[in-house]
Every structure is written in structure tokens, then in C-alpha cells.
Amino acid sequence: MTIATLSSPKIKMSVIGPIVALVVLIIMGALMNPNFLSAGNISNVLSRSAFIGIIAVGMTFVITAGGLDLSVGSMAAFIAGLMILVMNTALPVMGIGIPIVLLGMAVALFAGLFAGMLNGVLITRLGMDAFIVTLGSMGIYRSLVTWLADGGTLSLDFSLRTFYQPVYYGGTLGVSWPIIVFALVVIGGELLMRSTAFGRHCAAIGSNDQVARYSSVRVARVRMLTYVMLGVLVGIATIMYVPRLGSASSATGLLWELEAIAAVIVGGTALKGGFGRVWGTVIGVLILTLIGNILNLTDLVSPYLNGAIQGAIIILAVVLQRGRKPGQ
């Protein structure tokens, strides 16, 4: 037996790259504005990361299994619109109270489940390309929400919104709900990716779906589940999003899909699939949110250049990971 025991003490750039980028950002932010590390600002940043973050956790699984979903942003807008519409409609019957909020949440979860399933069926059962399917559903949901809102904005009834608002602004033990939910999703996702057969199967399918098939893995079902899970997580994100402003329009969730994908990749998941890590995605989301936060907190650069700074940092974070296989 010449097997060496599992030990690789050398530090992998792919692991520490995103962490280094995050730490550098935090130090930069703290130096530039003393309020950056205030409890209020940290809470703000984490709460606003929650939407993209919850979605990005689902996206991590989809991408790890070799897929892609471009529809999440408009799916979120559509679900938010649907949720507001249903809650407003039910208001005269149900009145303000917990049941109507639960109804809204159920609508969001089922709509997410259904939308994810639709993507999944088209991709896995009809064998269509994920890029095209989700590009199509992206357009469909985006115009459905415009149609539902009649070109304008759907607003949750004001008193209902006031009742529902604590779901975004409230919290327990000094931590707001979106942060708690985000944390739970991350912990669950990390566990699922790292320690379950499902996570292992996602990585196997993403690295070589033929090998997975020949190893009796239910390739279509696992792929399908990744899309369904992402849909449900979009529903959860929407449940957190709606009470924030109580409205949905065709501008809701614009470009969320790209932010989520960018967060996943910045976090070290391979875009071509086969390898994914949920904690990395969290780092990626935080990096993306912090860039905007720091730029708002300082006058360092012209606001016209915000996009350029964001792009440069995304590229930098990915460059930092390239210690993995030099020269291959």
C-alpha cells in the first residue's frame, strides 16, 4: 500500500482568494468611513445581500450540476407581483392578519416551485439547452409582471404592508429576519452540497454527466431538483423582498440573475460545473454588495464609474483563485 493519507497542507489560492478579496474590501471600507463597521451598516449590507444571496445559493447547485438559470430575476419580479395581487385580492375576505401573510408566502413558494419545475422539465425532459430555456422564461416572467402591473407598479395595500413589514425590518435577538433566513439557507445549502448524496451527485453530473449516468445516478432527476430548489429559493427571497417596499414592477429584480451568477463564480464555483461550494457563494455575494456599499459611503470615484469598479473587482477575485491549476 503506497497510499498517502489525505493531507494537503499547502494553502490553496482557490480557497483563500475570495476570502482575501473580501478582507481587503472590508479593510478598505473601514479606513474610508468610520461608519462602515457600525452595527447599522453591517445589518443593512447583510439584509440587502439576503435576496441575491438566497438565490445565489440555489444557483450554486444549478451551476455545479452543469446548468444555468437566467430567469431568476424576472421570476422574482413575477412572484412578487403575483404575491401582491393575491394578497390584495384576499384582503377584503381575510382581513389583515397572519393568515393572509401565510397565504402570500404559500403563493410565493408554490409559484417558485412551479416556475423552477417548468424550467427543469424543459431542460431535463425535453433536453433543451438551459441557456435558451431560461432566456425564454426570463422574457416571459418579465413581461408577465409588466402585464400584471398594467405597465406600472403593483403595490401592496398600505396597511397590509405595514403589518407584513417586520418580516424584512424586524428580527430576533437584534438580528433581522432576512439575515436569519439567509444564514439558515446557507447552512442548509452547505450541508446539502458537502455532505449529502444530492450534493455529490450534482458535482458528479457537472463534471461528467456520462460518468454519472453510467454510475446509475438519476441524472435527469438531480438536474430537475436543482432547478426546483432554485425556484423555491427565489420564492423565499421574494417573501423577504415584498415587505421591504411593498411593491413590484417590471424593474423589480432586474439583473439579479447576473448578480447571482457572478456571486457564484466569484465564490469559486466552476462555471462549467463539476465543483461548487456554498460558503464561497456567500463570500461572492458579500463582495458584490460591499462594493456598492463602499462606493456609496465614499466619494472616491465618480458614480459613473461604479460599474467599472464592480467589474474590475469581480475579475480580480476570479484571478486570485487561479492558483488552482497553473498552466493547464
Binding site: 402591473a149 405597465g151 417596499l245 424593474a251 456609496n296
Partner: protein, 313 residues
């Protein structure tokens, strides 16, 4: 002023009933409803067309909404090529890319009405109907000055970086110059509720004392208000939005101290443009020239006149 024009249109309609001509087609090309103001504009365009089609049986309207400038060019080319339009009412997505195609339409002898955003070359359009962007900024600035005679610290949320936004901000800055009002920071909220929510949260983290906010748009004002409310800050005395969204007008009407006023930039200007154009097509009434719809300060006293409960905006 809009009412004045509507009245004019209606009276002309009464003067020239059923002129029994061949059907004439008026093309209307506008950007799609991608944000609140555009949604309102779409609504008023559709409403005006419905009303006019009933009033003038000899008129036919083609309405096209485009999601980006190149699609708008396609729409306009199609209208000229296949619908044989007699007049075109266009709210250009952007000035530069639309100038050439609209010029072609004008060269083909079609009446051209340009709305809101001017073309890059002067003299193409027969009629120009627009809001007053520098005026919008100026009225907002003057209101700020009147509310804060001793000066104060404010933050400003800007729209999507465009000429419209630049003109408004320039007008605003000119109006507050020397008044003692100090602008702590300006960031782009992109006329988007979510973005302005986050921008305002960060303004609040950064500046411990903010006296007032010029949100410059009602969608942005909603995001700003939510951020202030969530932060529980009571130093901000009021938020000035703009464009006259019905929910905001309602709050002005109700005497909400956070929303004491509004400045109009009516999306219904598209209706003005369509009605005047229709008038020009069906009658000999001279309607060419420029028609600038001024931005009006809305306060609790006059808010009722600016409240359109049926509009989505």
C-alpha cells in the same frame, strides 16, 4: 395647462364633425413601460388613442412600444413602410439613434410630433411637446430654498445618467446656489425603488444629520422613505420627489409632513401630443411649433387638480 389643451381638442372636435375623409393613420411610438413614469405615459397614450378613435372615426392609430432604441427604430420604419402613416408621434428612447430614422419619416412628407426628448438635429419635427427639465430642477430647488430659509444639509438621488437627469440637476443646483443649502452627497438611484432604498440606507449610515432629501422622482422617493423609516431616523424633515405619482399626490393632499409637496413632470404630455397631432391631421388648425409643459409645484392647496386615480402612475 394640459387641461387647456384637452379643452382645445374637444372644442375643435365639435367644430369639425365627421369630415368623411379617407381613413388616416397616426403612428405613436413610445418606450415600453419599464418604470413608473413610463408606465403612466403608456397609460395616457392608450387612453388618448381610445378617446380619439371614438371622436374621429376617420382616424386610425398604431401604437408601438419598444424596449430599446434599436427596436424603436424598427417600429418606426415598419410604420412608414407598411402602415402608410400620415403623422408620427414619437417619444424617442434616446435622441441620437432616433434622429436619422425620424428624419426619414419627415422627409417622406409625414407630420412628425416629437415628445419629451428632443432630436439631435433641430427643425425635423413639426411639433415639439416636452416637459421642462431645467424647470423641473429649478422649481424643486426653489421649493427646497423656501422650506429651508436658514439653509441645511441635504442629499440628492439622481436618475439614470442621461441628459434629462443632467438638466434637472443643473437647474436644481442653480436654484439653491447661495441659499445656504449644502448638498452632502449625490448618487444615482436610477429611477428605481430598490436601488434608491439601498443608496439612501448608505447615505444614512454615512451622514448622521440629513435635513432633507431631493429624491427627484417619486419611485425613488418611495425607496428613500422606506430606508428612512427602517433606520428610525427623525432628523430628515421631508423628502421631495417629483413627476406626480398618484400615491404621492395623495399623500400631499393628505398633508403628510414627510411629503409636503411634489413637482409635476406629467406623463400625460404624450396625450397632449397625440391630441394636438390628431387635431392637425383632421383639421386645418395650425398646431406646429413648440409646446413646453411647465413643471408645476404641487402642494396641499392644489394637489387635488393633479390627482388621477385611474392612472397606473
Amino acid at each position: 395647462m394640459k387641461r387647456l389643451i384637452s379643452a382645445l381638442a374637444v372644442s375643435t372636435a365639435l367644430v369639425t364633425p365627421a369630415f368623411a375623409q379617407d381613413t388616416q393613420v397616426i403612428g405613436v411610438s413610445i418606450p415600453a413601460a419599464t418604470h413608473g413614469w413610463a408606465g403612466g405615459m403608456n397609460y395616457f397614450a392608450q387612453a388618448a388613442i381610445d378617446r380619439l378613435e371614438e371622436t374621429y372615426p376617420q382616424l386610425d392609430f398604431v401604437l408601438a412600444t419598444a424596449a430599446d432604441p434599436s427596436r424603436q427604430v424598427n417600429d418606426i420604419e415598419d410604420m412608414l413602410a407598411t402602415r402608410n402613416i400620415s403623422a408620427l408621434v414619437v417619444l424617442p428612447f434616446e435622441s441620437e439613434p432616433l434622429t436619422g430614422p425620424v428624419q426619414n419619416v419627415a422627409n417622406a412628407g409625414v407630420w412628425v410630433t416629437v415628445v419629451d426628448r428632443g432630436l439631435s438635429v433641430e427643425g425635423i419635427e413639426d411639433l415639439y411637446v416636452a416637459g421642462d427639465n431645467p424647470g423641473f430642477g429649478r422649481v424643486s430647488g426653489e421649493y427646497m430654498v423656501s422650506q429651508m430659509p436658514d439653509g441645511g444639509d441635504i442629499v440628492v438621488l439622481r436618475g439614470i445618467p442621461t441628459t434629462i437627469d443632467n438638466e434637472r440637476v443643473a437647474g436644481f443646483e442653480a436654484a439653491i446656489e447661495g441659499s445656504g443649502i449644502n448638498v452632502l452627497g449625490m448618487e444615482h438611484g436610477n429611477w428605481n425603488r430598490d436601488t434608491s432604498f439601498e443608496v439612501m440606507q448608505d447615505f444614512l449610515s454615512r451622514h448622521p444629520q440629513i435635513d432633507a432629501v431631493w429624491a427627484s422622482d417619486d419611485d425613488m422617493a418611495i425607496g428613500v422613505l422606506a430606508a428612512i423609516e427602517a433606520a428610525g431616523r427623525d432628523d430628515v424633515q421631508f423628502v421631495l420627489g417629483g413627476a406626480g405619482m398618484k400615491e404621492m399626490i395623495q399623500r400631499v393632499m393628505d398633508g403628510d409632513t414627510m411629503i409636503p409637496a411634489n413637482v409635476t413632470y406629467p406623463p400625460s404630455m404624450i396625450a397632449t401630443a397625440i391630441e394636438v397631432t390628431a387635431l392637425g391631421v383632421v383639421s386645418q388648425t395650425p398646431v406646429s411649433g413648440e409646446f413646453i409643459i411647465g413643471s408645476v409645484l404641487v402642494t396641499q392647496d392644489n394637489a387635488e387638480q393633479f390627482y388621477y386615480p385611474d392612472s397606473p402612475f
